[in-house]
Amino acid sequence: MDITTLTLAQAAQALASGECSSRELTHACLSRIAWLNPELNAFITVDEEGAMQAAEEADLRFLRQEAGPLTGIPLAIKDLFCTKNLRTTCGSALLANFVPPYESTVTARLKAAGAVILGKTNMDEFAMGSSNETSFFGPVRNPWDHNRIPGGSSGGSAAAMAAGLCIGALGTDTGGSIRQPASLTGITGLKPTYGRVSRFGMIAFASSLDQAGPMTRTVQDAAMLLQVMAGFDPMDSTSIQAPVPDYGALLEQPIHGLRIGIPDEYFGDGLDPEVRAAIEAVVQVYRDLGAFIIPISLPMTRHAIPTYYIIAPAEASSNLARYDGVRFGHRCANPKDLKDLYCRTRAEGFGDEVKRRIMLGTYVLSSGYYDAYYRKAQQVRRLIADDFARAFQEHDLGVILTPTAPETAFLLGAKNADPVSMYLSDIYTINVNLAGMPALSMPCGFDAKGLPIGCQLMGRPLDEATILAAGHAYQQATHWHVTRPGETT
């Protein structure tokens, strides 16, 4: 048996029963990374030494009977979470040598639970991108077809998970950056409710939208990671003070009678016919499982892209003002004065997409345009959130079901010339971030080219349990999530 094919739940079981050790499991992952990463480019930094040491400590915890469900599990961490004494680049030249002096809350919690950190995964620069092509460290290749992108911005975590380089992975999602790459690489990805998981130690992109979440083989695995990640953190003033339910226990909630809304607006022009057919098949599975399928309308849907591309760049332009060449990160050579230091440092350190978004954000916030763009977008954002709240309430829905992405993985370079066509990749995921709701993507089939298709389940705020239960029920009835890419390189 190849232990890297195990789900997280199976690996936890194998570790607990003594069938394998964390050292064996971690070594197996590191070996696969050494074999496949030169081609896939999923990791920016691999921490072999740290991982083997953590594995050894995990094995000791099992001996001392102090192990928990994540003890000894090898994880891949998006290179956006600050990890103390382990380089954290955010996919940028500007932070290529940044070694954080502190640990993000999420990785601290996972480490405290005994998880093993294999390394830091590739990503679009500052999480700005939908194809992982804006990374300073080069594009990531999709394990299902190496000529195609894995999606973004958490493309490295997605590819690592799909190729079996880790047992679980972490991503972050500002406009779809967990769900869209999960969809394009045939894995499961969950964006929790905004505020469910602490953002402390996550390098900020758009602070009112960013949220960390698990990227895993199964919904059950996502629930196991979320259990440890979720909860109030005094270090993040936007984290929600609400009890964290037992997600594992709630996975088995019956979905018979679950009311699933299908919004007409997510099935219009631009949706690939093969994706549409796959989603229609998911709906049939739920019908067979005893759920009620309810057609709904979310009329504000089409305004999400312009709204997002005002709000996210506005927040980004403010957040990225901190990269000034003074306290950390890249600094230009021989600055003639302070302004020159700022302007050239930032010109050299940021890539084109980041510059474009800083420019856009600065423009929409600038005097004379604030009301027309930024304030207007914030008002439309409320209308979008109200749209969802109304639909959930009026139809008494548990879940809203949609495609995750309008198409399957595209070819490397296909959308680089036109930013707008790239932005449209997030058309089905962005609404969720604007409204702050939880949503997951799960594999639901393949197109004729053999590329994975993803289905999105959205839930009410703080109701991760219902979308996880619905996703788990689907994965009990289907086999898409255990289908793996071929291993020829």
């Binding site: 505020g195 003033s237 003074v326």
Partner: protein, 95 residues
């Protein structure tokens, strides 16, 4: 809505970004196209709609007024490109 190269240069100064002439030209075209996409919001009636700055309605918590951080000066300076005597060093500001 199309914007001019002059506007792009002005915004770049505000954002403290040095842009090459080629990048200014590209940016002008691309930003105009992105701003066109945003024009559709103009027609949505939003009178009386309270802007949503944040997805969660919450009040900020207060914590006890106690020092929780130890002195981490050297650790924090370790990433700085240039330091002197425990401080960040920048080019001279005042002539």
């Amino acid at each position: 809505m199309s914007i001019t190269e002059n506007t792009v240069r002005h915004v770049a100064t505000l954002a403290r970004l040095e842009l090459s002439d080629a990048m200014v030209a590209t940016c002008t075209g691309q930003l105009s196209r992105i701003l066109d996409l945003m024009e559709q919001l103009r027609d949505i009636p939003t009178d009386g709609v309270t802007p949503m700055s944040h997805p969660v309605e919450m009040t900020l918590l207060e914590r006890d007024d106690q020092v929780v951080n130890s002195n981490q000066r050297d650790a924090l300076l370790a990433n700085a490109p240039d330091t002197m005597e425990g401080c960040f060093r920048v080019p001279k500001i005042i002539e």
